[in-house]
Symmetry: C2
C-alpha cells in the first residue's frame, strides 16, 4: 500500500497565515467577525497548502453530506448510448449544482451489482437518491427501500406488492399517446397502427394504454411490440405492413422507433404522410428534426424532468421545509406538428 | 422533512429467520460454519425485509468503502458528448465491478464545483480516485492532493510546481505522432502539415512534440492550432491551405479533427490520398472507419487505459500488495493503415 501525503491540517493553515486556530476555523467554516486582511491571509494559506476542510467531521454536526446519488438501473454502456439519460442528468446536475450539492452517479454493469449500490446508499455517503428503474421486475427499488434514505424515482414505478407510496416524477405518457392518436384520427385516418416500447416499462405500457383509450376497438394486428430502438422500429413496421397492408397511420412509442419505421415505409414505396402518417414520442433532438420527413411527435421535457426530480428531493431533505412535498408529479406533454403527420 | 421507513435491523432478520442474532450476523457477513438450511432461511429473511448490511459500521472495522471515485474535470455535457470518456469509463467500470468496487462518478458543471468535489473525496466516502484533468491550469489536481487519498490520473499531468510524483496512465502520444509523420514521409511527402489539439492539454502538446521530433525544420506555417473537434479541424485545414497551398500531407492530432480536414479537402477539390495524404489519431470507431476515404490513424486502446487505471489504483489500495506499483504507465500505440494515407 503506497503512502499518500498527509493532509494539511487547520493548524498548519493557521500557522502559515499567522493567526489563531480559532480565527482560521472561523474563516474556513464561513463565520463572520474576522477582519478582511486576516481573511485574505487565511484564504491564501488554504490555497497554498491545498487545505480541504474535514467533511466527515462537519457531517457529524450537520448530518448532511451535501451529496445526492443518481442510480440508473441500466448497464453503463446504455447510460452513455442513450441521449435520454444525458438530458435527464443535465437537468439534475444543474439543479444540484445550484444548491451546492454533489452529484454522485453510481454506475453498474448489471443486476448483480445492485446489492452493492444499495450498500453504498445505506453507508452514509449521500443524503438521498434519484433512481431510474425502468423494468417491472427490477429488484433495485426494493433494495433502496431497505437502504432507508429519501428517494425520488424517475418514471412511475410499478410496485409488485401493491400501493406503497413512491415519490416520482413522470411525463404524462398516457395523455400524450391519446393526443398523438387523436391527431391521426383527426386527419381522417381510420387504420392506425401502434409500435409499442418494451412493455415491462411503465412508460411503454402507459403509451399503449393511451392508444387503447382512443382505439379500444382496434384490430390487435395493428399493434406490434417493440423496444424503443431504430432497428426494433424497422422490424415492427415490416411486421405491421405484412399483417395489415392497408394501414394508413402509425403511432410509434418513441422517436427512435419512428425513425426506423420511416425508413421501412420509404423502402416499400409508401409516401409519408400521404399514404401513411407517422407520429413519434419524445421530441428528442436531433432525432425528430433529422428524419425524412421531419417527425410530428409528442414532446416531453426530459431535462426539466431531471431538474424537478432534484428539486423534489432537496425539498424532502430540507429540515426547514414546512409543507409536505407531493408524492408524484406528472408533467404535461405537447404535440409538436411537423411534416410526417 | 419527510420521514422515511426505518431500516430493517439485523435483529429483525434473525427474528424472521428464527435464528440467533449471531447466526444471522455470520451469514450476512460471509462467515462460515452455519448449516445450509439456516443460511437459506436467513437469506430469505434478508430478501423479504429488504435488509442492507450497515456499511458504515463495517467500514469502521475494515476502513474500506469498496468504492472508487471517478472525477472528470470537464462539464457534464462534454463528458456525455465525447465517446472518449464513455470508452474509458467502460474499462474502469468493468475492472471495478470485477473486484466488487462501486464506481462513483462525480459530475461537475464547471471549475467552481471543484472545491466541492475535493470535499467529497476528503470526506471518507471513497477509497481512492481516478482523475481526468485535461487542462494545464486546472486547480483540481492540487485540490485532490489536499484531500489525501490515493489517486491515479488519466493522461500525464503537467504540474506547474515541478517534478512531484503523480501516478498516471497515458498513451504514447509522442511516439504515436512520430510514427504518423514518419509514415507520411515514407510515402514521399515533403510538405507535411500538422493540425494540433488544444495545447493546454499534455496529449496535444506531446503529439506536437512528436511531429517536431521528425520535422523539426518544418515551416511554422505548416502548423495550425486547433481543438480536437470536427469544426476546429475544418477551420485549421482552410487556414493551412491558404498559407501553404502546396502542402501534400496532413497529420491531425485526433480523428474528429481529421474528419473535418477531409471535408474541406474534398470541398476544395483535393484528392485524398493522391494530392494530400491524411493521418489521424485515436482510431475511435466509427469515426475513423466512417470518413471518406477511411482514415489511416494512430490507434490507442482507450478502454484498456481505463481498465489499467483502475487496476493500478486497486493495487495501491491493497494492504497485502508487497511490490511498489509503477508511478506512471505509458501504453504503446499502433499505426492503422486505411485509404487516406
Amino acid at each position: 500500500m503506497t503512502e499518500t501525503a498527509p493532509r494539511p491540517t487547520l493548524e498548519a493553515v493557521a500557522a502559515r497565515a499567522g493567526v489563531s486556530r480559532a480565527t482560521a476555523s472561523r474563516v474556513v467554516n464561513g463565520g463572520d467577525g474576522v477582519r478582511e486582511p486576516l481573511v485574505e491571509r487565511v484564504r491564501q494559506a488554504v490555497e497554498e497548502l491545498g487545505y480541504v476542510p474535514n467533511q466527515a467531521a462537519r457531517s457529524l454536526v450537520t448530518r448532511r453530506h451535501d451529496a445526492v446519488a443518481v442510480v440508473i438501473a441500466e448497464p453503463e454502456t446504455r447510460v452513455f448510448a442513450d441521449p435520454f439519460f444525458a438530458l435527464q442528468l443535465r437537468g439534475i446536475s444543474k439543479e444540484l449544482t445550484a444548491h451546492d450539492n454533489q452529484l454522485v452517479l453510481l454506475l453498474t454493469e448489471g443486476r448483480d451489482d445492485h446489492a452493492r449500490v444499495a450498500r453504498y446508499l445505506a453507508g452514509g455517503h449521500v443524503d438521498g437518491a434519484l433512481v431510474f428503474s425502468l423494468h417491472l421486475d427490477d429488484p433495485l427499488p426494493g433494495l433502496i427501500r431497505g437502504a432507508g434514505i429519501p428517494t425520488v424515482f424517475g418514471g412511475r414505478p410499478d410496485w409488485h406488492g401493491g400501493p406503497e407510496a413512491a415519490v416520482y416524477v413522470d411525463s404524462d405518457n398516457r395523455g400524450g399517446a391519446r393526443a398523438a392518436v387523436r391527431h391521426l384520427a383527426g386527419l381522417g385516418r381510420t387504420r392506425i397502427a401502434h409500435i409499442t416500447g418494451p412493455l415491462d416499462q411503465t412508460s411503454a405500457a402507459d403509451r399503449l394504454q393511451g392508444f387503447r383509450d382512443v382505439r379500444g376497438d382496434a384490430d390487435p394486428h395493428l399493434v406490434a411490440e417493440s423496444d424503443f430502438t431504430p432497428g426494433g422500429g424497422e422490424r415492427a413496421m415490416r411486421e405491421l405492413l405484412a399483417r395489415r397492408p392497408d394501414l394508413d397511420a402509425v403511432f410509434a412509442a418513441n422517436d427512435l422507433a419512428a425513425s426506423g419505421a420511416l425508413r421501412v415505409l420509404r423502402e416499400q414505396g409508401r409516401r409519408v404522410p400521404e399514404d401513411v402518417a407517422v407520429v413519434g414520442f419524445d421530441d428528442m433532438l436531433p432525432v425528430a428534426e433529422g428524419t425524412d420527413p421531419p417527425l410530428t411527435t409528442v414532446r416531453q421535457d426530459i431535462e426539466e424532468m431531471g431538474r424537478i426530480m432534484a428539486r423534489l428531493l432537496l425539498r424532502r431533505l430540507d429540515p426547514n421545509a414546512t409543507d409536505d412535498p407531493p408524492a408524484g408529479l406528472v408533467l404535461p406533454t405537447t404535440l409538436v406538428r411537423r411534416a410526417s403527420a
